[in-house]
């Protein structure tokens, strides 16, 4: 790509961001217009303002175990525990699979076997094993977030330029040097990309697990969605969905920044 063109692209994100915000407001206005013009019951399709009001109310008043902050906090905590466990197991195991053929040959078929089960389908077994609480949700998030992180770490090592490895080996690098000075830095972009996919999968699985666990759990954003449905309060259901989308998008944004930084290694 020529220089002037890349310079022109530098100014574009601001404009693009502005266009998205404007476009999004148009759609929110359309939503508002439909709800107001047809006088739809707020139990069915509330206006954006009614949803916002509900969220503001929920910030200071509790439902179930507490306010909006308590529910968001629990959801984030569950998500993080499952996600971090998946990263702690998946990335080292994936790197190991890339390095040791025996491990690869033994584990690959097992992953091919289990990846046909959608992670959310584990939720009932998780409930049976760990009860309708922290443990079961962590387990489901773990199952959802593990495969992409493991597979990307594995591919990251496998796709290291063999010329690089041979050159290092000729210069007398031992296995440890090969791993930490050649393999890991070269694999980093793919590993971080795996983190991003694992994050999206894990967040989706958290919401699924919270909804499947039912209203008995008393905490979490998925619980709020359910309570809204059972009490015919669409304001609560849609408000909780918006908060889930917002947190998911922020997490994704954070990892994307990390990804851009990691890509510089290449």
């Amino acid at each position: 790509m020529s220089e002037p063109e890349s310079a022109a692209r530098q100014t574009r994100p601001m404009q693009a961001g502005l266009a998205v915000v404007l476009g999004a407001s148009v759609w929110i206005l359309i939503w508002w217009g439909i709800a107001a013009a047809f006088e739809v019951s707020p139990d069915f399709l509330p206006t954006p303002w009614q949803v916002a009001e509900k969220l503001i109310w929920l910030a200071t008043h509790g439902i179930g175990e507490g306010t909006l902050w308590v529910h968001a906090g629990w959801s984030l905590l569950r998500f993080l525990s499952g996600f971090l466990m998946a990263a702690a197991v998946g990335i080292p195991l994936g790197l190991l699979m890339g390095y040791v053929p025996l491990v690869r040959n033994l584990l690959n078929p097992l992953f091919e076997l289990f990846r046909n089960v959608p992670p959310i389908a584990w939720a009932p077994f998780a409930l049976l094993w760990f009860g309708a609480s922290f443990g079961s949700q962590t387990f489901v998030i773990f199952t959802a977030a593990l495969p992409p992180m493991l597979m990307n770490a594995y591919q990251g090592i496998r796709l290291v330029d063999p010329g690089l490895i041979n050159a290092a080996r000729m210069l007398g690098a031992g296995p440890a040097t090969l791993l930490f000075r050649i393999g890991l830095p070269a694999a980093t972009p793919l590993v971080v990309a795996g983190l991003r996919i694992g994050l999206a999968n894990g967040w989706l699985a958290l919401v699924g697990a919270e909804i499947i666990a039912g209203p008995g759990a008393l905490t979490g954003l998925g619980f709020l969605i359910l309570v809204g449905q059972e009490n015919l309060q669409a304001t609560l259901t849609i408000g909780a969905m918006a908060v889930i989308g917002l947190i998911g998008a922020s997490l994704d944004y954070g990892v994307r920044r990390l990804e851009r930084r990691a890509a510089r290694y290449k």
Binding site: N108, I120, A121, F125, L128, I211, A234, T237, I244
Partner: protein
């Protein structure tokens, strides 16, 4: 695949099955927690005759009809819309923000709202499947058309191709492999979503079978439901890849 790898694979899967059989046969875990392999086979036979008012085949039909109707609607709307968004700037300006507004909401979060809007019958589940499947259809179609190599477009234009020819004879064929990938991802997503929706509320379908097994503490029934879900997901993926290879021979196949 080499024979050595195949042997290792058989060894690994055999070891897991043997471990499963051993811990259950030796009574190390309660059958309420983990059913033994013979119990699962026995439960599969029981279910194929009929379970909760429906045979295994009827549950299959319930799950499949929801997944296919939601998926087809998503493909028929998502792919053309994605292509149009990439091709015509006004469409992109209009629909782009809607996509970025709705995309961060995970499909399972729509399940309760779908129940609220459509009730617990098939319509609600079809809607959730539609929501989950349209994103990969649309995004892949959009990116596929955006990433058509400019030299292809330029060459065709030099040779006198009009807008319609550029879109239908150059851009879409070039983007088809990536569109197909999106359709395949969407199918997996649709399948996972219908199972999730059936776990929450249903009167038939494999997710319903699993959840009822859970409620009645019949772990063998749960295992049968999960194995059925896995087998069907696997079969759908296999079928799709076979079709992909035949219809788009110019794509890169794994």
């Amino acid at each position: 695949m080499r024979y050595g790898q195949f042997a290792f694979g058989a060894l690994a899967i055999g070891a897991v099955l043997a471990a499963w059989w051993a811990v259950t046969a030796l009574g190390m875990v309660s059958p309420f927690i983990l059913p033994s392999p013979p119990a699962v086979i026995e439960a599969a036979q029981r279910l194929s005759d009929g379970y909760l008012g429906a045979s295994l085949l009827a549950h299959l039909e319930a799950s499949l009809s929801v997944v296919l109707s939601g998926y087809l609607a998503a493909a028929l709307i998502g792919v053309p819309l994605g292509i149009l968004m990439a091709w015509a700037r006004p469409v992109e300006i209009l629909f782009g923000p809607l996509v970025s507004l709705l995309r961060p909401i995970p499909p399972p979060a729509w399940i309760p709202l779908a129940i609220l809007w459509f009730g617990i019958d098939l319509t609600g589940k079809t809607f959730v499947v539609f929501v989950s499947a349209i994103t990969p259809c649309l995004i892949n179609a959009y990116v596929a058309i955006k990433e058509v190599p400019p030299h292809l477009i330029g060459t065709a234009r030099t040779l006198g191709a009009g807008q319609a020819a550029l879109l239908f004879r150059v851009a879409i064929p070039a983007g088809l492999p990536m569109i197909a990938t999106g359709l395949r991802i969407a199918l997996g997503s649709a399948w996972a979503t219908v199972v999730a929706a059936e776990l929450v509320v249903a009167t038939a379908g494999f997710g319903f079978v699993i959840m009822n097994g859970y409620r009645n503490v019949e772990s063998d029934v749960m295992a049968v439901g999960m194995i059925a879900v896995a087998l069907l997901g696997f079969a759908m993926n296999l079928l799709f890849r076979a079709m992909e290879k035949r219809i788009i021979p110019w794509g890169e196949h794994e």
